[in-house]
Symmetry: D2
Subunit: 270 residues, 4 copies
């Protein structure tokens, strides 16, 4: 169902790991819609090697960069601009990780060094990307930057722990930077608050299966999957959404606006 929606546009996508990744699907769909793509992930992620297949398929160079490291980002954006012969039009930030969650450290006993890492990897990295882009004037006017978030930024989901705080910080950074990038360069900055998704990162959250089932029954349209999310990203990269900025957009089959559905209650009471 390609419509050339991103024809002539260029973008960089951070965080594709394998074909379960939302970022992977976004890259594929953006390519289908006519965009040129650069892929970036950490050196460690690249060593896993799966992303090479994606790079070949969509004719995208792969640039190693640790998005928490300004110097590496600096180089990566330089290389990206060199590849494109100038600026680009969209950015996807699909990066998140909590060492505390991984190691199952309870929230009321957080390791603060890990907490800083969680915030740096999952939220501050978005500031760093935007900052490096803005300093290099890398994103064209009316460009679009997106980061992936989760409703835990607004409501507490047990077990999501310090990732919830990271998502709240991420969404705040999107607003704070969105104001500045918007007025200075007409670049919009938004976050998508996505349904729980069966990605490799997501599967690290204990109890994801149950959460997935609960969200599925709560949401009148069911959970949005990675491909649905990719479609929504395409839309938000396109010119059709050029006046939308500083928003957190729920993409979740209705979950965010449900108190309790009959379907979830039927399961609950049984």
């Amino acid at each position: 169902m390609a419509n050339d929606l991103l024809k002539g546009k260029k973008g960089i996508i951070f965080g594709a790991l394998n074909d379960k990744s939302i970022a992977w699907k976004v890259a594929e769909r953006a390519y289908e819609e006519g965009a040129e793509i650069v892929l970036s992930n950490t050196a460690g992620a690249l060593r896993m090697g799966e992303i090479n297949a994606l790079g070949e398929k969509i004719n995208a160079p792969i640039i190693a960069a640790d998005a928490t490291n300004v110097e590496e980002l600096d180089l990566a954006i330089d290389k990206t601009m060199e590849h494109f012969g100038g600026g680009f039009d969209f950015v996807l930030h699909s990066i998140g990780m909590s060492p505390n969650v991984r190691k199952k450290i309870p929230y009321d006993d957080l390791n603060y060094v890990f907490f800083n890492k969680t915030l740096d990897i999952s939220a501050i990295s978005f500031h760093k990307i935007l900052r490096v882009c803005k300093q290099k004037d890398a994103i064209n006017e009316w460009g679009s930057a997106l980061a992936l978030s989760y409703i835990a930024a607004q409501r507490t989901f047990f077990g999501y722990d310090d990732m919830a705080d990271a998502k709240a910080l991420l969404e705040s950074i999107a607003r704070s930077f969105g104001y500045i990038y918007g007025k200075d360069k007409k670049v919009r900055v938004n976050t998508i608050s996505q349904s729980p998704t069966m990605t490799t990162a997501g599967s690290g959250v204990s109890g994801l299966d149950l959460l997935f089932d609960f969200a599925e029954r709560m949401s009148p349209l069911g959970n949005a999957d990675a491909l649905d999310c990719a479609d929504y990203c395409i839309m938000l990269f396109s010119d059709l959404a050029r006046k939308v900025t500083m928003q957190n957009l729920y993409h979740d089959g209705g979950f965010a606006s449900i108190g309790i559905s009959e379907e979830a209650m039927d399961k609950y009471k049984s």
Copy 2:
């Protein structure tokens, strides 16, 4: 910039009055994107005659209906389905009017008969349209219903008075009906919270010029205009947003997420 985004889709658009109307722009853009359209407005609005030009241009029949009247809606949806030879895929509700605001009756001295009219015309009519559509199974699976709202539903703007209450009710109806239409028929229901827009309806609000200027300076991307709004509606009608429902989506250049911008403060302090 047509992309066949709505190719093969059909929809009904309520509320186009003249070429300043958002609904008019939506109809034009939907047609450009490949959709077949039916237009509807009140008999009174149709007598003004401007809509005929639009109907001819986009090859759309025009069906008179008072959207507060279930019987008239019943007939209108029947005619629409007859025209299309079956169901359709999207609905736009761009209907709003407050006799209290028009007659400049202060909010603390509301005429309650008028208040009921404000609510009926501006909010309950959306329920009536959805209800008639659902009873006739008129909207195809994964169809999209949209209504236009304003941020006065969340925050008080002096002079907007009982229209604010109507918008709050409209957004609630979108959620309440969205849950049911979603789970039963996979139809999504959303509202767009649009920048102040220089339409014929908008110009009835006293002080719109000032509000427009304030919003323009507050919003990092400036106000979204009627054509921008039409683009966003197209996106939300398309399959790219098929898992978005029960949402109120700010389309306002960033206004909703601004406390105070430097640009507005510069004017304020001068």
Copy 3:
């Protein structure tokens, strides 16, 4: 635990029916805290007779008034001011009823005459009370008006149907009127969004037991009961909250900020 928090203050309380009513508890607690009270309810509710016992206990006159009827409110406020020898300091609106919910009419098949009644009884009556009070300058400066709401105004709870829309309208009216009453007379207007509560009105909602259990497990502090709610109302009537206005205040043991609790999930998965 009386603290003379409302010593010297006077108030009118709408909607006490029997000793399960939140309004009943508010009246008792306000009296304990030193306030003088007037009670009001419909003639029909008064005929049930239980409120007489409350009136005697707290030395409060009982004034019949249909809060949807401006003329009756006019008389009731006159009588109240006569009783107090002037203005008063607080108002509680604890009024809500949906004929559609009572008669189990599905939301997508609403009776619109009933819908208007739902809105009039549950939401517009608050506007009418405030309007009559303001016209008579009945509420003293820095007075406090409160209405009871429910989180269905923000998120859909199946079965709550058009009461959800009424609560959304009620909260909007509180904002709209709060702006005007605040700037003109320093009167604050707020709503409390209360946990599901086992009142006579609440018990009309089908499935309340299940909802109550779900909310209890979701809320880290458990559901707030009628007496808890009365305490919070006292606080909001007192001078300690005199700069709080146009707010909807969740009083629900934490429910509003929970996505999913471990306790609810344990029950859900079992």
Copy 4:
């Protein structure tokens, strides 16, 4: 207007600097209402010496602690419990500082070491306090922990920069920890989103005078001052609010619910 609201209660207050501080007013009001108090601030702040006068006045020991340092907090909470002979009932966190804002480093050019400090001092310190308290079981059942926030957590105010992100993180921590502390120990955790206030900390924000004037005209009840805020804190420490948790409570004269007031527009247009 003391009412013995906190009679028999004990609490620790972080962040009182001088008699302009909100924390100072809270300490005074809590004492008036019958509470026993311990004061804490950094060694640097204590060296300024003004807090000694407060300590004497309200008979409160002063304990030096850097709230970003878990070891120092550990000692401070031990000393506090020793002083009280056991647990206590309330905690106030009134701590915030951004080196980036102080040094007027633009948000799109943040110093990331400073950013980490901003987050650590203004947000993560609240986690550290709660964590140390919970590990020592220092807060009694139905106790109340409060932190002071600002609406910049939700909407961008130019010049507030990374403090906005810190406040968003702070509010998220209140929710995340509030869930756990609530279910385990019935301790509630909330934030108050306070009007711009003329404190020593506030005066570091450039353009505070203008912001103060804008907020004053936007808010129907005018800005809430430090003493108003102290009253609201008292209320939230008291048992009257014992079922309120995981909330961010606007205490701002109505500002948060205003889109544009007539009073602000009159100044804007002049």
